[in-house]
Symmetry: C2
Subunit: 337 residues, 2 copies
DNA sequence: TTGAAAGCGCTAACAA
DNA sequence: TTGTTAGCGCTTTCAA
């Protein structure tokens, strides 16, 4: 493997000059640079990235701390981060936490060990004090979920506003017994969506009934969504609409309804969240809130890049637009309900 | 940031000794080692990985060259690779090719640039001569798809055998007009499955009819599967069974049937492949061939590890067991068909 | 069992 | 515009 000094010898220049052309500094005369390029070509020289990284003390790697790459919601964000990282000259390393806080800490350790120049956190729980320690020393950005009390910047959608839109739509359709399927986690999106649900009900003069709130599992799985919906639908005075915090849960709710002979949307309205896939396989196609996953990832990466490269006045918060998508699973309340 | 010589000074030993305890060489006296550990503790020393990698000229990173991480089939393999890489002290870098051969080459370039110590190739097309160049110089393993003519080891399932089992099951159910939805790609799995389909038909004395073979898109998407099935089902003498090369395509086939009022499995049998997800959301649950995705990834990583670390007699081929899973979408042929 | 010292390949400060 | 040179922090050979 040829080194920079082999190239220098071949081109009859010093290693400094070779280094300069490698790094595209313009203080090199064209003729000299050409000689260097010729030598590089001839020797099939590839700069040793290991040496360069060491010298510059940077890894050109960014870390993505994600709970799970199997979930399509994350995988779209991941793709957005990955593509953008590449454009910016970074490699994106995905660190799978499998939802364990322990693993999350391990991931952040990689920053200390200089395995990565910065990190993007997905699925941040609120209220983890231990993170603070990293805030001053490492470039970190939160994507999609975030803890407002932690001094890391974040990019996300406006979950509160999105659910207020959902609720307004439901009211316009005549619904009053509106249930929600949430999850018992510590995501800010969950809190915000729940708050929007309750606020909307309150402002409409409707009570927030405990038995209209059900919980799916932490994994937002189809099965747990179905079970939550079954509970909701087993009541004598059952809801006429269910707002679900994910499409997969909504799919579960529809399956639960189908098995009970309840038609969607004729007898029951179901609304999902994310619009990530599977929403248009079988009828009824799901009415949902679309999140710009790829863009979320892309902007998180850009934000991180600015932090790593010491942008003067880095943005602290970025809110991307969601999109309320009307399809088939929501309908007008039947008058006899 | 403390360096190894700070530690040496603090512990009153030489840097060589510190290095020895860092690398757990047993030629260090216990008392000396303890002093070193104490110094490390006191100074909160973290070895500089960048320097170490440079010195050892290794990156401790392995590359996964994948077409797409959004596809759950891949994401399970990816998880298997990632977890195993971690256990073995490596980080797994996912390089997204978006199905472009150009990007694939870019990915392999990273090996030359020493960004990674080895690579795992997913979704290898057959017949790419350019890969040969890497064969001698870099540790590479193929996972799931592979080119038998390329001198890289691989791990996969026995696609031929799996489809022969599917066909035998179909014959046992009385089916004779059996269609298949394949895809026009250059994957060995596709060839092998098609060959098994044709061989089985032949051995049963049944003709291979051109209009019983349809093609979904290169992405194995729901929509393209549905369209392919629509073509198949539009014929007057339509098939009584369809074998699909993926579950998503099978889902599309079921949707196509439903829209035409054809019941599955009563009027039409549909069989999928992969068993990766969505096979058990709505009835009929899909009868399919399960692939051990996570294990595929795990073993590919182990194989790569052996190659990187110069195992004497590395395995060249590893075939993992698939699992034929009978659920609801396949049934006995009706006598009046 | 330990230490001295060379050197991995590159970048960048300084000098010319 | 170009060259000389001093490291970056670590591992490892050789000697003691």
């Amino acid at each position: 493997m040829a080194t920079i000094s082999d190239v220098a010898r071949e081109a009859q220049v010093s290693v400094a000059t070779v280094s300069r052309v490698l790094n595209k500094q313009d203080s090199v005369k064209k003729a000299t640079a050409d000689r260097v390029y010729a030598a590089i070509e001839k020797l099939k020289f590839e700069p040793n990235i290991l040496a360069r990284n060491f010298r510059r003390s940077e890894s050109r790697v960014i870390l993505i701390i994600a709970p799970n790459i199997t979930n399509p919601y994350y995988s779209h964000i991941l793709t957005g981060i990955g593509d953008t990282a590449n454009e910016l000259g970074y490699s994106a390393l995905i660190f799978n936490t499998a939802n364990s806080e322990e693993r999350e800490k391990e991931g952040m350790e990689m920053l200390k060990k200089r395995r990565a120049d910065g990190a993007i956190l997905l699925a941040r729980n609120q209220g983890s004090q231990w993170l603070e320690e990293y805030a001053e020393n490492y470039p970190v950005v939160q994507c999609s979920e975030y803890d407002p009390d932690v001094p890391f910047p974040h990019v996300s959608i406006d979950n509160y506003k999105a659910v207020r839109e959902v609720m307004a739509y439901l009211f316009a359709l005549g619904h009053e017994r509106i249930a929600t399927i949430s999850s018992k986690n510590r995501y800010i999106s969950t809190d915000l969506r729940m708050k929007a649900y309750k606020d909307a009900l309150g402002e409409e003069g409707l009570p927030v009934e405990e038995n209209l709130v059900a919980y799916a599992g932490l994994d937002y799985s189809f099965r747990s969504g179905k079970e939550a919906a079954e509970k909701l639908l087993a009541q004598e005075n059952r809801p006429t609409a269910i707002f679900c915090i994910s499409d997969t849960i909504a799919l579960g709710a529809i399956a639960a309804a189908m098995e009970k002979g309840i038609r969607v949307p004729e007898d029951l309205t179901v609304i999902g969240f994310d619009d990530v896939e599977d929403t248009m396989m079988f009828h009824p196609y799901i009415t949902t809130v679309g999140q710009p996953c790829y863009e979320l990832g892309k902007n998180a990466m850009r934000m991180l890049y600015d932090r790593i490269n010491g942008q003067l006045d880095p943005q602290h918060e970025m809110v991307l637009k969601h999109k309320f998508i009307i399809r088939e699973s929501a309908g007008r309340r039947k008058q006899d309900d």
